[in-house]
Point group: C2
Chain length 199, copies 2
Amino acid sequence: MPTPVRPPRRHGAELERALLQAAREELAAVGYANLTMEGVAARAHTGKQVLYRRWHSRADLVIAAVRAQTGSIADHVPDTGTLRGDVLGVLAWAARRWHDFGPDTIHGVLADLPDLDPRTFVMMEDVMTTILKRAAARGEIATADLEPRVVTLPSTLIRHEMLLTTTPVTEQTCIDIVDHVFLPLVHAVAGPARGRPPG
Amino acid sequence: MPTPVRPPRRHGAELERALLQAAREELAAVGYANLTMEGVAARAHTGKQVLYRRWHSRADLVIAAVRAQTGSIADHVPDTGTLRGDVLGVLAWAARRWHDFGPDTIHGVLADLPDLDPRTFVMMEDVMTTILKRAAARGEIATADLEPRVVTLPSTLIRHEMLLTTTPVTEQTCIDIVDHVFLPLVHAVAGPARGRPPG
DNA sequence: TTCGTTAGAGACGATGCGTCTCTAACGCGA
DNA sequence: TCGCGTTAGAGACGCATCGTCTCTAACGAA
């Protein structure tokens, strides 16, 4: 009888990539709620211990898997020439990113983790600050020195939308947020630079 | 030997109240993540079947338990005489309510339920509309006919705060939201009624 | 008083957890 | 080239909880 072929043993970065890939596939196949360490291990043709050696929990694994897939917003700061276009670009990026996770994944990770790594939010604030500074330099607004809560307002609203509505976040949602909330507020507290008319 | 005393069998509304009470006690004792149907049943001195007969899942049970405890915001619409005071009152009520749930309960319920009952949000919008109409009647603002996204802005922001920060929502948080975001925006899009100076 | 319902209690198989054990493949240093 | 230490791959294990099922007796309604 033929000896069954054994694939070579993977290790290091190659193995880790395969594990994260398996986690993403399992996530897409069964959803976060039904994702099990055993399922991921089976899909990766390995044992659970290999997973537990690297990540403490299901939530850690999934976060690592999604992080490894999508880049950072900091590497894709929009620069369209207008404040409105830039903010819409940021919101579109955020919407796509959260869509990649999927609502049930977000809810599940929030529930499984005691507290959330705030890096994502800080990054978002940095990007918004960059955009506002450029708008101020162009003379679109008088100053980029705004209350933190104002700076983070668009990303906060889009995040709330993703967390508490089942419907997908549309382009129109982003436009509403920018045109009906963010821009009116910014122009109210940091009106257009002198010498330039609004809108 | 003495026959062990058997308490009389409960039923109807009395039993249901006892079950919800047991669920609340169990929730406070072990938290949502560690709450089990068996634990609640044991605390209520009954069997699991009695629970499953009434609620399909852990999340259904917990929601029912908390709903039965706290009232509705619609029954406590603030009326302080100023728009600012009223909105702060609403936010304080919301903060207390969410605090009663606890962050881990909120996250857990969001994860366990496929989609959320939107009644809470609609109620919040109704209350805000009432407050804004009174402010318009007083002449504080020119009109109460605002974009839905503007009307729900304060409750949206406080909800986001509860969902994504671990720190408790303080009075100062509510004040920041009202003074730095909501009121400037409202005055920008529905400035003070003619003949009255702002602030 | 009878009869149908269901509370209270616990057994049951299934599932996934996180740990533990084992063997052999593999990388590295001598 | 060889030998040693690490760890991938595989699965067994005990435990907890799930949701279902069964049974008896208490209770309300007729």
